[in-house]
Amino acid sequence: MHELSIAQEIVRIVAKEGASVHAVRVIGASVSVGRLMAIETDNLLFCLDVLKKNDPLTEHTVFMVEEERLQLRCKACGHVTVTGEFLFACEVCRSQGVDVIGGEQLEVSCLEVECDEDWRETECDGEA
């Protein structure tokens, strides 16, 4: 059940990042979870939904979990295999000498926030 500690850290990051752009509310947050991190999505979402209520900024946040698939680079032929299975072998040459180059991510990838007007006028770099 490391989902609980991970959810705590996710809510902390979301609240911190939201506060840093002077958000009044974080509407949505996307979390990218690598296949190798052995995280149960439903379990994580359950923990997030409990913990988010502790902070008015995250109270109504809708969390989305995206799975990052396993990516393996073959040391023999260089081919990159992307798989939803736990098969550590090259799909082209069948070699088991592979480096894991994806599937170990665990990050808060992006937020959707509602900000107040003052912040937008002072901090937006006018890109939009």
Binding site: M37, F86, A89, G97, L106, C110, C115, E117, C124, E127
Partner: protein, 269 residues
């Protein structure tokens, strides 16, 4: 951090202002809609959830690099024989190596008591429910076992094959244990830890005659997850296969000692 604000040049009025402005109903509704669109922003955060743990683990690693202390993180299901392995290891090596031990369990000091009789510095980490050790727990308890210079620090993680695999503790090697009563397909069921561990140890081989455990199949399963893993098979009860483990350990200690001068690492006290 990049901030993309969609339609940021929209209405300047916020809800309160629009009410204050005494606009007619229709206009103020419009203003509200505009406001809502104008203040929504999508923010790229790309922040690692493990960052706090990983930063501290990196500090611990630098600390042990300076001291040339080999550090192992032992991971298995409850009851695979981690503590028994450490008892026998201390018994056999206590005259040759200075070994410190941090042992994590959800409750009780039992394992620390079992290990303390060999005269090595041992500290129990009681996690009170948490199913794995994190770097900050190591940082907190480290000073209890690090009096003087250690050749080896062994961390016995909480019995669990899933959660501990995601937490870097700054160790040199993750060692995963699998006992002969657990079935050969454990590596396939828990690929995360078997992929990350550099050493896999099949324990309790004295029980092989009483089980249908297929040692070759277990090794093939481990290799199918990680073909470069060092595989050792042993019994802490009879001592069979133990010499190879002690050789492996002492060789790694030598390698760590012979590394070039390390930069000054952070202190923990």
């Amino acid at each position: 951090m990049k901030i993309g604000v969609k339609q940021s040049v929209m209405a300047k009025l916020d809800v309160k202002q629009s009410v204050m402005a005494k606009l007619d109903v229709k206009q103020s509704v419009m203003a509200k809609i505009d406001v809502k669109q104008s203040v929504m922003a999508k923010i790229d955060v790309k922040q690692s959830v493990m960052e706090a743990n990983n930063e501290l683990a990196a500090k611990l690693r630098a600390h042990w690099a300076e001291r040339r202390a080999l550090t192992l993180n032992m991971i298995s299901s409850p009851g695979s024989g981690k503590t028994a392995l450490l008892e026998k290891t201390l018994l056999r090596l206590r005259d040759r190596l200075k070994i410190g031990i941090l042992v994590g369990d959800v409750q009780t000091e039992n394992d620390a008591k079992r290990l303390a009789v060999y005269g090595s510095p041992v500290k129990q980490i009681i996690t009170s429910g948490t199913c794995h050790l994190e770097a900050h727990m190591i940082e907190k308890h480290l000073p209890f076992v690090e009096q003087g210079d250690l050749d080896v620090l062994i961390i016995e993680n909480v019995g669990n094959l899933i959660c501990p695999s995601s937490y870097d503790l700054g160790e040199d090697f993750k060692v995963v244990l699998l006992s002969t009563t657990e079935g050969e397909d454990k590596p396939l069921k828990y690929p995360g830890i078997f992929r990350r561990a550099q050493v896999a140890m099949i324990t309790k081989i004295d029980l092989l005659p009483y089980t249908d455990f297929d040692l070759d199949l277990a090794e093939r399963n481990i290799r199918s997850i990680h073909n470069e893993t060092d595989i050792l098979a042993l019994s802490s009860r009879t001592g069979e296969g133990f010499d190879r483990w002690l050789d492996w350990l002492q060789q790694r200690v030598q390698e760590k000692r012979s590394l070039g001068a390390a930069e000054k690492g952070p202190e923990f006290s």
